[in-house]
Amino acid sequence: MTASILPLVLDKLCFNARGERLIHDLTATLHGGTRTILLGPNGAGKSLTLRLAHGLLSPSSGSVRWEGSSAQAAHERQAMVFQRPVMLRRSAAANVDYALSLRGIGRRARRPLVEEALARAGLGDMAKRSARVLSAGEQQRLALARAWAVNPEVLFLDEPTANLDPAATRAVEEMIAAIHESGATIIMTTHDLGQARRVADEILFLHRGHLMEQMTAETFFARPQSAEAQAFLKGDLLW
């Protein structure tokens, strides 16, 4: 068992683009085992925060710290699924195989892992199909399978169901639940309140680049502290 890379500490994170500050002094500690939802309206800075945490963006100031290991080693224990699944122009199986090969797993060892990953996504009989002819829901499940295959300790999900219909959303949420049960920590963004209620153990509520609240989902939905969160929960339009 390798040592955990959690908790993740975001320390006074700031992010500027084109002279504008998009993330303001965001400080939070995220512990292992939970499903954390970054909640907020569009433009709140949810995706940016996720990308900063995953290392796809560098903070303008402040820091992202993982427990113990180097940034490089910590990155290898993470995976991310994007709003629009990025499918490599090859078969479904080859998409999973590629991710595994990047983790340095030998060709022979990869084959059963690919099969298992596709089966877990219910895509077993589509292994040889080009990933790009799959439906949007199947593509997102394949993206999840690819992320799951590398056995991440932390899985980032950026609005994974924003482009999907209810049936596909349900399939994706079931996969997320299964990945969580297998031991991964889930850190996910959504602007969908219903989804937040279904999935979250913990809520980070963001508004205009500020972290307004961090609390358990139960408390957040029962007694939100900030006026913005109260308005968001009531269904008022926030921007």
Binding site: R51, H54, L56, H75, E76, Q78, A79, M80, F82, V86, L88, R89, R90, Y98, A99, L102, R103, S130, R132, V133, V150
Partner: protein, 234 residues
């Protein structure tokens, strides 16, 4: 008009007689062009992809330079390679001037920028789509380059064909460094130039038609291949 009539007859008789000299010329043309294009692809494809995804100071200059080099005048390239390979030149000791190898080198100078510039364009678009995902998966730039090239393979086939077209029909550079020596460095294009200047227009036109025909066949084959791959992919 008579010239064209005669040319058709000449071309047909050339093809059906399977004239030994003609076969030799066609063979050499194909050999030089394929070698030149293969070598250029080997250099140009990774170079183009690297220029697309690496961010380094002076990158803009490299891109402009590559694009400008696409339009290199063949005669100038021929002259430069000639100077490099001539007895007094830095590579004179190799004795390559007026050999097929010299012609391949000249074509490589001509085509590598074309392949690299077009590859950069194609892979830059693909990198926009892929970069977050590949970086998330932990791909280093060295690893991302072959990934981009593989995933852009259908479009890159057209890129390589563009290089092929340029090389196959090119006359100025191969004339200068090859010398159009019969049975040694004479290719389709230099033969056409020679026959035209000798006044044997039907033979020149006949050779021209064969050149066109070969180009059509090769492009057609590549189109079918590309279409099959595209249909399989999406």
């Amino acid at each position: 008009m008579n010239d064209f009539h005669d040319a058709f007859i000449e071309a047909f008789s050339l093809i059906f007689d399977l004239d030994a000299d003609l076969v030799e010329i066609i063979n050499l043309s194909l050999k030089i062009t394929f070698s030149g294009v293969a070598l250029s692809a080997l250099i140009g494809l990774p170079l183009g992809a690297a220029a697309a995804l690496l961010r380094f100071p002076g990158r803009g200059t490299v891109v402009v330079l590559l694009n400008a080099l696409m339009g290199l005048p063949p005669v100038v390239v021929g002259l430069v390679v000639y100077l490099l390979l001539s007895r007094a030149g830095p590579f004179g000791v190799l004795g390559l001037l007026f050999t097929p190898t010299a012609m391949i080198i000249a074509q490589c100078f001509l085509i590598t920028p074309i392949i690299a510039a077009l590859t950069r364009q194609t892979t830059a678009d693909l990198w926009d789509e892929y970069s977050d995902q590949l970086r998330s998966l932990g791909a280093t730039p060295a690893r991302a380059v072959p990934t981009l090239l593989f995933d852009a393979r259908v479009t890159l086939l057209t890129t390589i064909l563009a290089g092929f077209g340029r090389a196959f029909g090119e006359v100025g550079a191969v004339m200068l460094v090859g010398g159009n020596i019969a049975h040694s460095t004479r290719v389709m294009t230099t033969a056409i130039a020679l026959e035209t200047s000798k006044g044997d227009l039907p033979l020149a036109l006949g050779l021209g038609m064969i050149l066109l025909l070969l180009s059509l066949v090769i492009n057609g084959g590549a189109y079918v291949l590309g279409d099959m791959a595209r249909r399989k992919l999406k």
